[in-house]
Amino acid sequence: MTIDKQISYVIMLVILSLGVLTAVPPILPERVVEPFTELVVLGPNMKLGDYPEEVEVGEPFTLFLYLGNHESRVMYYRTLVKFGSELSFASETEPMDAPVIASYDHVILNDDSVTRQLSLSADTAGSNRRLVFELYKYDESVDDFVYSGEWVQFWMNVTSPA
């Protein structure tokens, strides 16, 4: 093979590689390794931890809810806040069977997030009560919100007002 052929093959290879690398990615569907949503509850100072552990019935306490959408598509979320007893059971498969004390809906773009301040209060006294945040995602096929299996909980002692 003569030198001119060798050089021309190298140039052709470089051009071909650049062309394919430029043209192909935009037409391929975006690859998502593992779609997920961040459900985080922050304390009154917008930090992890520092959560209220003891409150009175009816006494408002502040928390912050953070939702991050990494599902590679726009999402419609519903977060239910439930106050359960010591014996209430929360799991990834079944939502906790306890009264809903608050509900928050959010529509979030892919790779975007929402942080909002919540003012909550307990309606009945009890020790080791579970404050659970459950995440639901709107499912177009059933036209309803479906429990995603993501949840966060805190243990709280709720005392009667003195």
Binding site: S8, G19, V24, I108, L109
Partner: protein, 152 residues
């Protein structure tokens, strides 16, 4: 005769009031039927979200619409009955805009395919040109730079 006319008049008065009552009741139920409640807004919110999601799948820019839908969802939590109509109007507006974005999004997605196809075709053409013309160009350049060399 006179007695007959009197009895007709007696019948007409209650009939008139009955008719009036029916009309008023109908008007009342008409307004009730069109009163917007929270569930109406939530239902339309879901419909609008589906339209926005479809627009996103078509490659449209939905960032503004998502911001508006999220704002409506938050405002709905503390909205009074008087505010439901306005929220519903805003939700329907988002749905309308989403459908418009959807129809714009499809050509945008196709444009991306056209651009990529054009780049690939140009690449192929460049490769062919190099294959066909490079040897000639190479030797012309070689002769120009080294043609006056003398072998001794």
């Amino acid at each position: 005769m006179c007695a007959s006319m009197k009895s007709r008049a007696q019948v007409r008065v209650p009939e008139f009031f009955t008719l009036l009552l029916v009309i008023m009741t109908s008007l009342g139920s008409f307004s009730v039927a069109y009163a917007v409640d929270e569930e109406d807004v939530r239902t339309e919110l879901r419909v609008s979200f589906e339209a926005v999601a479809e627009a996103e799948r078509s490659g449209g820019d939905i960032s503004e619409l998502v911001g508006e839908l999220n704002m409506i969802a938050v405002e709905l939590e503390s909205a009074s009955e008087e505010e439901y109509s306005e929220l519903l109007r805003r939700v329907l507006e988002v749905a309308g805009k989403a459908n418009a974005v959807d129809s714009v999004g499809e050509p945008a997605e196709m444009n991306q395919v056209y651009v990529s196809t054009a780049i690939l075709l140009s690449t192929g053409l460049l490769v062919l040109l190099v294959w066909a013309l490079f040897p000639v160009l190479y030797w012309k350049l070689w002769l120009r730079s080294k043609g006056d060399w003398i072998i001794s």
